[in-house]
């Protein structure tokens, strides 16, 4: 599934606001528990890590286990004191890193 992550966060905020950020990453999150029709276990392949940075500083991150549902959804907060750029990354078991950025204007 070569889809893009979906992000929802405000484009503007006031200094000191705590904003809500919603993210959704299309991914099957293959748990490693399922078996195919021949009875062989389908190997695990999940997004195992998510990070959120603002202007280069860590805000929130998550280590994910296979118990996170497919199309991992993560919602969290960030306190913004200045304008800048959020950078989000998702890391697959196979090492691939997908990233996305969003700017915010803080007055």
């Amino acid at each position: 599934m070569a889809e893009k992550p979906r992000l929802k966060l405000p484009k503007e905020a006031k200094k000191g606001d705590v904003i809500e950020i919603k993210t959704l990453m299309p991914h099957i999150m293959e748990s490693g528990q399922r078996k195919d029709k021949d009875g062989k276990t389908i190997p695990r392949k999940i997004i195992n890590k998510f990070t959120a940075e603002f202007n280069g500083k860590p805000v929130f991150s998550a280590n994910l286990d296979p118990a996170i549902a497919a199309n991992p959804y993560l919602q969290f907060s960030a306190k913004v004191e200045e304008s800048g750029t959020f950078k989000f990354t998702w890391t697959d078991d196979d090492g691939t890193v997908i990233s996305a950025e969003e700017k915010i204007t803080v007055s």
Binding site: E3, R6, K8, K22, L24, P26, I28, K37, A70, N71
Partner: protein
Amino acid sequence: MTRAGMWAGSAAIALIVAGAFAVVAAGSRANAQANKREAPLETKDAASVQPWKRYAGWPARDESKYNTLGHLATAPAPTAPRPVGNQVIGDAANGGKLVADRNRGGSCLACHVMGQAGNADLPGNAAPDLSEIGNAGRTDEWLFNYVYDARVYNPETIMPPWGSHGFFTDPEINDIVAFLKTLKSPAVFKTALDDPNKRPAPVEKRDNLDAIENPAMWAVEKAQELWNLKSASGFSCNTCHSEPQATFKTWAASMPKWEPRLDKVLGVEEFVARHAKATTGAAWLMETDENRALSVYLHFLANGAPIAIDTSSAEAKAAIERGKVLSARKVGQLNMACTDCHGKAANHWIRGQWLGDPKGQYDHFPTWRTSLLAIWDIRQRFQWCQVNIRADELPPDAKEYGDLELYLAAQNEGLKLSVPGIRH
């Protein structure tokens, strides 16, 4: 370049420009025409994969002995109870296990509270509470026959014929009767939620049109790509329908519809398959990803529009009547009709699942299914209901499904479309 070459070059450019104008003109003409004439439809070939094969991962069973919505096969009900005497001897402990065994067509607990059977873990209430049936003065013979084939006592029953349709053997029914005779006190539930009479009906609160909440919203984007995708013919949907947001504001809410060229009711999915084939040549058969994406999109464009189908023409009336009859036909090994669950037992629980009224069961299709991570259209939903009650499903473009869909849509008249839905 020679002078002749320059002339040839200019002529070539002029031809190309003229050609481009012609295509644009053809496009606008096509647009204008598309709004006026009958939509071209592929009428020769089927709109689904031939021969129809059940989806991978769905239970594979031979249900040829039983009715489908397409043909009749079920043996008639017995006319009298079997004489088994009133000394039914059985193993009550085994009976207690059998009534909770989901692999036997859902288990008795799907519909009945039965004391502590199955740990009273989310039993259903589509049928009477049997927790005190041991004290209800019923004979062993009555209990045996009610399980074996309840139709001998109640021809209108929705209870499956557990014996005569081969779910349980006679010794197993003896065990069940022995267990029923031990039920003499009300069930004790661990939590209020386990009690189906106290469990609140589920309310769908998710925002199904929020792309972060509903993965099916990706289908809307995918469909827009498909809309512009030129087939080998050089045409795309966009060639004739360059403003879908405006053109299809209510179209999906007017479907399904009787199609005289095919002598059947067409739903959106079948229309897409046949219309694409006949225009751009795209082969978007029913139950393919492309077809589902376009069905989602065409419904999405009409979101907010109230369902307003033709119910007054002679053909529509006849189809709705046929659909009504089909909805009451008992099918499958479980011998159930749509109206059993979504009529007689509506607004009750089967095990942990709520049975809804037909009104409200159509306006959100196609829908995302969270349990399967897949988009289902209404035809696949029909097919799954059939397979679950152990009846053979029909191909998605079966005319019977068209009649049934029209009947269902008629019961949902006035409800506003909200697609893609999101459900379990």
